[in-house]
Symmetry: D3
């Protein structure tokens, strides 16, 4: 009996869509105003979803307090009130599109979740744009 458990979290960050190996004109041509060299920002909202069998002892798939702490350490402490391009090492050479951010978050959380459990991460860049990644 597999159940999916979901936990919401959030962080606020600045970013710009930008490739270092392109000049500003090319970045602007491809990414438009999202490439503004002075940055813009978002309230990113996340849903972290973990799926697996219920532990009969506790009635939990996974203790949500533990999941909450993993999200805090791996994502909130690392991304919140940061400039993703400048201050988050994963984006030093990776364009921080929503797609790339959700994969980075997945890869940071995945090793902390027992391997018997499936993981999916949903990331809202705005209330109108969001992305989802489950590792394959």
């Amino acid at each position: 009996m597999k159940v999916q458990v979901n936990r919401k979290a959030h962080f606020n960050a600045a970013h710009r869509l930008y490739r270092k190996d392109w000049d500003d004109a090319k970045n602007l041509a491809i990414f438009g105003k999202c490439s503004n060299p002075n940055y813009h920002g978002h309230n990113y909202e996340m849903i972290v979803s973990v799926t697996g069998d219920i532990d009969e002892r506790t009635g939990f798939v996974m203790d949500m307090k533990i999941l909450k702490d993993i999200i805090k350490e791996e994502v909130e402490d690392a991304f919140d009130h940061k400039n993703l391009n400048i201050e988050v090492p994963e984006f030093k050479n990776l364009n921080p599109t929503a797609e790339n951010i959700v994969i980075v978050i997945y890869n940071k959380i995945r090793p902390k979740i027992p391997s018997r459990l499936e993981l999916e991460v949903t990331l809202y860049e705005t209330p109108r744009n969001f992305v989802k990644y489950s590792g394959n």
Copy 2:
């Protein structure tokens, strides 16, 4: 052409996370403040999702009025304004975690839905924590 149709519903209930075969100290150690012997409570919000072929005659996968009545009889009338641990027989010997509640709801609704249709139930314990179960 399979379409998923979804109906939202809700109930308000008290509960505590608790195993009868553990003493209060052990319940507290594992479940923390969720194990408060005086109970706490939630506005549970549900999404009942039914997937199947469209009935060409009506253009419906399933008449939503019928689904609404099934949810009312099986879930709202049984759980709303109740203490899940004391008053809902399914939790007499089952810890009412969100995971166990969503399975109980699924099992109560499943026999009322035609077997050709798939069923999934999503249960929000809070706006920030939710679970999903689809029967396997």
Copy 3:
């Protein structure tokens, strides 16, 4: 690495549930007040979901500005502030249930999305009723 990207959109429209080959009494018997000959209406909210590999060049699965334009041309311009039964050709002989509307939307958008990408459409008829279709 497949990521799902999602874009929300919306349109307001009038409709009635109605089959031309049934008389008003039979339409009323099956569809109830949704069959009112004078129509009623909804704020339809949509989520268009596109899944595929990230383009390493841009970091996008698909440029959301292009997706936004496709939704505008195929759905918003065609359905917004319209009477679905009278003014939208697809419903001339098709009952505009939420199920049928979501399939029509899917079929209008599908040819505009590169075939290597998967498509799913979610349609909220009300905040409490919604449907989902992914083409099979």
Copy 4:
């Protein structure tokens, strides 16, 4: 000690912005696509707000079950799944703009609420447009 109590409700309806004493061209010039002769529609969401002293006996400003019944009789039964222009007598000669609808709702509910209590009605025509009226 005045407290405001609020109750949400909703109805789905068709309408068009239209003055009978103007021809279609003038209606179109002023009201644009909202004047479509074939109608469009909305999921109207309402908040009915009642303010007054707490009844020390019950701890209520007003019994919400009574307020719920008043809203059902005066608004939901009268407007839900209706064409406002054709089927709701108040709009026979009154353009059903959100502003006029909220005043009509206020005037229908006001006589049913004890005069010692203040009334305010908020009406969402869409999630992005809403109006508020408190009787003066």
Copy 5:
């Protein structure tokens, strides 16, 4: 230049509508299923609103971190995962209706907010029922 600043918070609690000086039959007659002796519960969501002049030095009406701490100490720590009737002293002899709860919250927070600032508290008992109090 007065600005209102608002902070959301939440707590989960059990309660029943109940007066000690009435017997169970009378409590049931007046309060219906909300009077269930075994309790039910809610996810209470709060908005704490503080209005006043901007401090020109900081650009703040009030430091939101301080407001957040006041809400945590006075409301969340006192009410969260509690049974309001049994465990919260303010409701020992006071029926925990939404109206009475919002006044108790106001009275707990008011002394911690500088007197030059106005205070209003909004309390959602469910997403469909909420109350508001501003001290007079």
Copy 6:
């Protein structure tokens, strides 16, 4: 008969809380992580509220299409995908706290709204923090 009409809008921007006449250490001491020199950002959501008598001719307090255009020109075009500290002249010497931003927005919109109408602006910095200003 005064009615309040409301229109939602939004913009995404980077900012930092910062006074030029304080050094970085003092900015950090007062504003904490919100003062990060590399900026962070938000999805700002706005509600622009206009209150006045209904124009009997149209049934409108104000044509919402006109209000929508004013918001676009004065706020969205000026703030969206911008760095508020660097690129928006109003914040050259003004700390872009939510309180100061809402006043700047009010002051930009106020001259475009007929003086017989009252104006209020609500600004959500995050879904959990918001501010409101009505000009006095």
